[in-house]
């Protein structure tokens, strides 16, 4: 078994995909770092101060002004309302939620990458794991060996899990290393608040507690890895079902992008919360942002994702075991 996994890993390494992924992450992180840097500079210039409390207060006032605008969707209003309460809470407790530093950058990077960027990178590895062997015909060579079929597929799946782990590691290390050049490497012990529970327009703060940033980041990385594994598993399933890698990519891309779009408009379609793609933003629950559909919680989203992932895995194995290969 370990030899099989090794073999599969070797194939992935040979395709040089992981290096491409590393390069993509590096370029994007550099880009975001620069954008963030420009934004802080701009803010500093506009307010003439580096005092974060003044800046946060200004953001609060800006939010309050935007909330006054009459032509605003109910959802957006709710979202802003909650963000406002949260910023107010941070200010009252004298905590700067965006103290500059590589860890803060890393945290926001993960939060923004969890629903699209990281799954996309995982897809790059997962999409052709099986389909390429089917289209190239090498699957036959694999299957004529005296090894059980499920073992072959399992070895591929384990190789995928290992790749996901590597991608997460690259994202974490690169975002820390590159942004640190600009923002400095300190800030892991910055206290952050979590446990906000949005309730309608209100924010329940009964469960709010403080955790250091390193713990916060570790939690987010764990959740991002979970999301990536689920998306990877579903991609894996399509890779088993379809011979064309392009079709696999197309389907998964459509699903992911529709998730991003749907999250903005499904608030009144309640059963949409059982779709996996509107449940990807797990880090929002840690942050305390309003969920796309009222009543969604971290536990709910994790359960939905787990069910989708397990179902995908079962389908993949079931189909792979039964299929005639000729």
């Amino acid at each position: 078994m370990s030899k099989l996994v090794y073999n599969e890993m070797l194939k992935i390494v040979r395709k040089k995909r992981l290096w491409v992924i590393a390069a993509i992450i590096a370029v994007l992180v550099a880009l975001f770092t620069y954008a963030q840097y420009r934004e802080t500079e701009e803010l500093r210039k506009r307010l003439g101060t580096t005092d974060w409390r003044t800046q946060l207060q200004q953001q609060i006032v800006d939010l309050q002004n935007r909330l006054q605008s009459p032509s605003m969707s109910e959802e957006w209003r709710k979202y802003l309302q909650i963000r406002l309460k949260q910023q107010q809470y941070y200010l009252e407790h004298n905590i700067n939620p965006s103290a500059p530093g590589a860890p803060t950058f890393m945290r926001t990077f993960i939060e923004n990458a969890i629903d699209l960027f990281l799954p996309l990178l995982v897809m790059v590895v997962a999409a052709d794991l099986v389909s390429s062997e089917a289209s190239a015909g090498t699957i036959k060579l694999l299957l004529v060996r005296p090894v059980k079929r499920w073992k072959i597929l399992l070895s591929k799946y384990i190789a995928l899990l290992l790749s996901v782990s590597l991608i997460m590691l690259m994202a974490a290390v690169l975002s820390y290393a590159i942004s640190g050049l600009v923002f400095g490497y300190g800030g892991f012990r910055l206290p952050l608040l979590t446990g906000f529970v949005p309730q309608g327009e209100d924010l329940n703060t009964a469960n709010v507690h403080m955790i250091p940033q390193w713990k916060y980041i570790l939690i987010e990385l764990g959740l991002a890895a979970f999301v990536s594994v689920v998306v990877g598993t579903l991609t894996f399933m399509f890779s088993v079902l379809l011979r064309s890698t392009a079709a696999v990519m197309g389907i998964m891309l459509a699903a992911l992008i529709s998730g991003a779009i749907l999250s903005n408009m499904v608030s009144s379609w309640h059963s949409a919360k059982y779709l996996f793609m509107v449940n990807l933003r797990l880090t929002d629950y840690i942050k305390g942002a309003a969920p796309p559909i009222e009543g969604m919680t971290l536990g709910f989203s994790m359960a939905v994702l787990a069910v989708w992932g397990l179902a995908g895995l079962l389908v993949a194995f079931f189909v792979f075991m039964r299929r005639d290969v000729y």
Partner: protein
């Protein structure tokens, strides 16, 4: 060599995989099973950060849409034009903190002043400019309440709130000059201009009376600025000033500020 690279990658991946699992476990533990200990409010030392007699001039702007600059395409508002005028007179760095919120009424401002950070900003200010009362009087810019009973009731509440606002401002900052900018009549061109103007004058008078109870609070009239050709100075909503209107207000306030006085007093 390739062999060892792959083996190494597998080992690294497995190790970091353990880390991600740990993170996931931590997420579950922290979000579902941790007993919440709400953080205690940090008592900020009220000292240290009061008004500094430094080279910089800190201006805090409070109030409603007028201070926000609604209606000015450039977004400056009278605060922006005021600062422009001041910059022509001095090289001192000027810092503006605009805390105004559109649609704010006097009770809203009073609530806003309850926030510790707002209090800190006020305490650090060298100069405070504010507009309030417009939304108490004109219901969000739609009309003037002309029912006498309603009007008197609104005024009573407004005056009481204004008194508490000024008292609060003086409590947080006993030195900074406060310019309380008065109202103009945006309906001066309409048929019942006589009546509406009388109501606005009355309202301004009441505000000025309250301001006079406190040291260094100056009620700045704007009524006269908009008395003639009111529509030349109003935005297309016929309520907020346009750029020209804001410019007039800003220049009037700027003309009242004596720059030498700051830092010497």
């Amino acid at each position: 060599m390739r062999r060892s690279t792959v083996a190494l990658l597998i080992a690294v991946a497995a190790l970091s995989g353990v880390l991600w699992l740990g993170g996931l476990a931590l997420a579950v533990q922290d979000q579902f099973f941790s007993a919440a200990k709400p953080p205690t409010k940090e008592q900020r030392p009220p000292t240290a950060e009061t008004r500094q007699h430094d080279e910089k001039m800190d201006i805090v702007a409070l109030g409603d849409s007028l201070t926000r600059g609604t209606g000015d395409e450039s977004g400056k508002g009278y605060v922006g034009y005021m600062v422009d005028a001041l910059r022509r007179q001095t090289d001192k760095p000027i810092r503006v903190t605009n805390l105004a919120i559109r649609g704010l009424r006097s009770d809203g401002l009073l609530r806003q002043l309850g926030q510790p950070e707002i209090q800190r900003q006020v305490a650090m200010a060298d100069l405070i400019v504010m507009t309030i009362g417009g939304n108490d009087l004109f219901q969000g810019g739609e009309a003037l309440k002309l029912d006498r009973k309603q009007l008197n009731e609104a005024k009573r509440r407004y005056v009481a709130n204004l008194d508490r606002i000024f008292a609060a401002l003086r409590r947080f900052n006993s030195e900074a000059v406060i310019f309380a900018i008065g109202l103009y009549n945006p309906f001066g061109d309409l048929d019942d201009a006589k009546r509406t103007s009388a109501v606005v004058r009355d309202w301004n008078f009441a505000s000025a009376e309250v301001a006079a109870r406190y040291p260094n609070i100056v009620a700045v009239p704007t009524f006269d600025l908009f008395a003639l050709h009111v529509n030349d100075y109003l935005y297309s909503d016929h309520f907020h000033p346009n750029a020209a209107g804001y410019k007039r207000i800003g220049e009037r306030v700027a003309s009242l500020i004596t720059l030498t006085e700051e830092g010497e007093q």
